[in-house]
Symmetry: D2
Subunit: 303 residues, 4 copies
């Protein structure tokens, strides 16, 4: 996943389209969307909106999120990392870059602040953005040899018990090699982008986005010597629910859910990439430092 720096400029195109999506229910996002749509039209660009809450915009086209990737040259998301994830999941396998404008706090994925929204969009339209391709995962569940469900995740595939309080028990294979049988609250399989989301709370490492890797992070494992493992994303991961007293579920990016029962099998493997575009000069480690307060927390007794 090379950190390519490429612009949006497709010379010779008669007209370019920009998609807009907002965090549902966020009034501030709606106001910004109105402002952005107006400005884009002034620039002679076609504006396409997706999702609820953008009904009052005039002079724009409407498409479902699923249709967007094939019809827009840039996708702008107004919201936080959650809103961006919601959109990015539909852009897996597409080269169309997505720009996240955060409404409040800096996000891992949404780095541009809303106060600079028009500047940020102009910069990206000028081809001066920094495109980073993030890997994604495809998860498929199986029962008795039949496929149950298939979904995609940009951040993580999380196996969790559905009902408290019993642990689930599962067996994991990587590249057809048995890794462990474990009793735990669950298991996070995260992309590098997802390594700073739920996997981090569960005790996993931070994995740089340019690594072609999947983090395997058990949640509250019963076996105390268990540890997070980072495996190559060219390997297929297989998890089977075994003898568990509890129902379980698979959650994709915390946004899509697949119910599982004992004996069900889940295969997780690398899928296509998603292109996020950042402002020039964006610094991955600077975002980490800021989000994780590395300037700060201290357990000290010095004097």
């Amino acid at each position: 996943m090379p950190r390519a720096a490429e612009g949006l400029g497709r010379e010779g195109e008669v007209s370019r389209s920009v998609g807009i999506s907002i965090k549902p229910g966020a009034q501030r996002a709606l106001e910004l969307a109105v402002e952005l749509a107006g400005w884009l039209k002034q620039q002679g660009l076609r504006v396409v909106v997706a999702g609820d809450g953008l009904d009052r915009l005039d002079g724009v086209d409407r498409l479902s999120l699923e249709e967007m990737p094939r019809h827009v040259d840039l996708m702008v998301v107004l919201g936080g990392d959650g809103a961006l994830l919601h959109v990015a999941r539909r852009f897996i396998g597409s080269d169309t870059p997505i720009l996240g404008i955060n409404l409040g706090r800096l996000g891992f994925l949404t780095e541009a602040p809303f106060a600079n929204m028009l500047d940020a969009v102009a910069t990206v339209l000028d081809g001066r953005g920094q495109v980073v391709r993030h890997s994604s995962l495809q998860a498929t569940s199986w029962r008795d040899g039949e496929m149950l469900h298939r979904g995609m995740a940009v951040n993580d595939v999380v196996l969790q018990r559905k009902e408290h309080p019993r642990m689930i028990e599962f067996e994991m294979h990587v590249a057809d090699q048995f890794v462990f049988r474990l009793r735990a609250d669950g298991l996070v399989l995260a992309t590098p982008a997802g390594s700073t989301a739920y996997a981090l709370s569960a005790g996993g490492p931070i994995v740089h986005p340019s690594l072609e890797a999947i983090s395997v992070v058990p949640i509250c494992p019963h076996t105390l010597s268990n540890r997070p493992v980072v495996v190559p994303d060219s390997d297929v991961i297989e998890v089977v629910l075994t003898e568990s007293p509890a129902l379980a579920a698979l959650n994709l990016d915390g946004q899509e859910h697949m119910a599982l029962q004992v004996g069900d099998q889940v295969t997780v493997e690398k899928s296509g990439t998603v292109s996020l575009v950042y402002l020039p000069g964006r610094n991955y480690y600077g975002v980490l430092r800021s989000k994780l307060h590395w300037g700060g927390p201290a357990a000290e007794a010095s004097g």
Copy 2:
């Protein structure tokens, strides 16, 4: 909680009673119960059984678990730590000692192996057992100032989201002092006995049973600098669910559940003790070492 060593011998009593409870559905436990009941009757003792699965025993009295503490002088549980917890929860506040006979692996609470069952029971009846009083917790949930539910726990009170995948958010006060507002998968409040159960998987410390303390262990906390805190059990802990997108529940010893919604308040405080009786020479640290494989796991590069 002094580690008292006291026997069961109540001189002058005309007749003594021994209660028996087994792990539900365990055939081996049933066979052992039959053997134990026969032997106890031979010794001139009254036998009282509780719970399902002991129907085919003859010549015994039957009582509910709730009635047991007032009617028996010793309670014997055949099963693992889970079965013992199930019984111990009804013995909170009673001085009647409980002896756990484990059917398989050594337990933290059930230390006597079934192969020595009759010897173990004889030893305890002779007053040569080692009684350890374990503290317990009482949890009460409140909505709009009205009490919703009240329950007891010997191991732990666990606040958890009921539905994946969203974190819950809560505020905790200890002794009326604000401690933190946290987003996490949940929170474990554990007695010292519970410190080696779920709290340990969640990253909490091992707390010696003689300490009058409650471990406060967040589950997958969003705030990375959050850490387990051990507080005096004379302090009342109060937790309020705040602005959470998810339904939550309170689990007592993983066996009793109380549903919660945003705004509900939970108070947790010390309750009565439970007396567990162990064989003489039992070593707390030896059990830890064995259960946690401290003789073993190693990350080494020496040679």
Copy 3:
């Protein structure tokens, strides 16, 4: 260790003495000491100074830190937690309260900000301070049955290898019971006050100061299932260095060092208390929250 709230006011005393100690080499501390000494003399109090760097103060008495506890009614330390520890180690077993005035950041032990120095001292002299008795540890090293060295610690006794890079190996007993044999970088034995210092960086829990407990926290243990253990401070802890390839040392509060070699034995047990005095309304959890940035660090993907 009850959280007593008692003043300094000893009615009927003809004259009271206040000791002053500063962080060595801190110019700001020296200036504050001059200001404080002048103000104290104005109040008719005797001023006693200890340590280097206070030579230019006139009209004050001079004593070594060791003599201070028997001659002053209040000890004021201008500096951080390290400077306070340096003084507190000499006040073990004394009832004389110590007030820490921090020069910069809030400390776990030095809570009063220098901007309020005179108000803080006046408050404490008026008997409105909040005295907290902190427990301490005594560590003794032995070789071939002979005592090598004995020292005290307010925060922690740390066993560490003296030379990189080999791990040390040691065996620990608590209350004459074998706990473990471990290969690790070292071992922290911390009082509750010390639980927020080095022990916290090593992965130990936060232990409330009112608990009569010692935290046992291994540093980078080879055995991955090893975990911090909190034991009653009435138990004596014994550690023996075994077959270690490396020299080791015992560090007391990071300020006093005792060299050890293979076969040496260390016993650690509870010693006297140290009385720290805080301003009224001081909140233990508020200090934690502030020092550990619990208002802050977040691993989030919400939006």
Copy 4:
């Protein structure tokens, strides 16, 4: 680092050479070396020995470890992971495969048990071994722009304070981007092979050997929100000691030491590979499971 499976068989070679090195001072290793040398000579192979303790072998050639890589077709090490590391450090950049025969416990690097020594060597000589190329690191220290020292590591480069008990403070850049300024006991920079050695004890993740990555693992960091970071090994890591009260040192594989003082700079970057050869059917995860006792340690309360 593809997991190549290639043999040693170089068709057409008139004579082949096998090097032998043993764990210093290990009597068992010496006996095995005698047996192995005799058998190799019977097969018509040239035997070359390195290191101390192999003086009594007759009919063999002697070379320093440094000369070995250019003169042998296979290197056999009798000992544990430490002995193998000692040899492997001299084979960085060479294609000559190294076979580790462990004398006792299974090692992460030395997987073949001594009881099968001759079979194992025969298998590898037949070209049926499984060669895994492990990455290595080169560390260079600088003072005032002048190079101080340069060394190599197969497992890890560890920055540590040389004298207890003060933390060191350092700043880290990766690929010229500032990552953090940290106070800690030290910092481990580990290859994937090293991720199961010291880095694991310090809390780092397990990283699969086929990933081209370096684990950055702080040792007892002062900043509680700090976390291990896995970065691409194509990036250069730079660490500068800042304002530290303590002397520090750089340890390479725990076997080579470079003294550092405040202001010194260290650059760590990817170096050549080392080829380890394993028996066919060797399973990376099986070794993990066995070494880390994943079959075992449990914190349970079920029953």
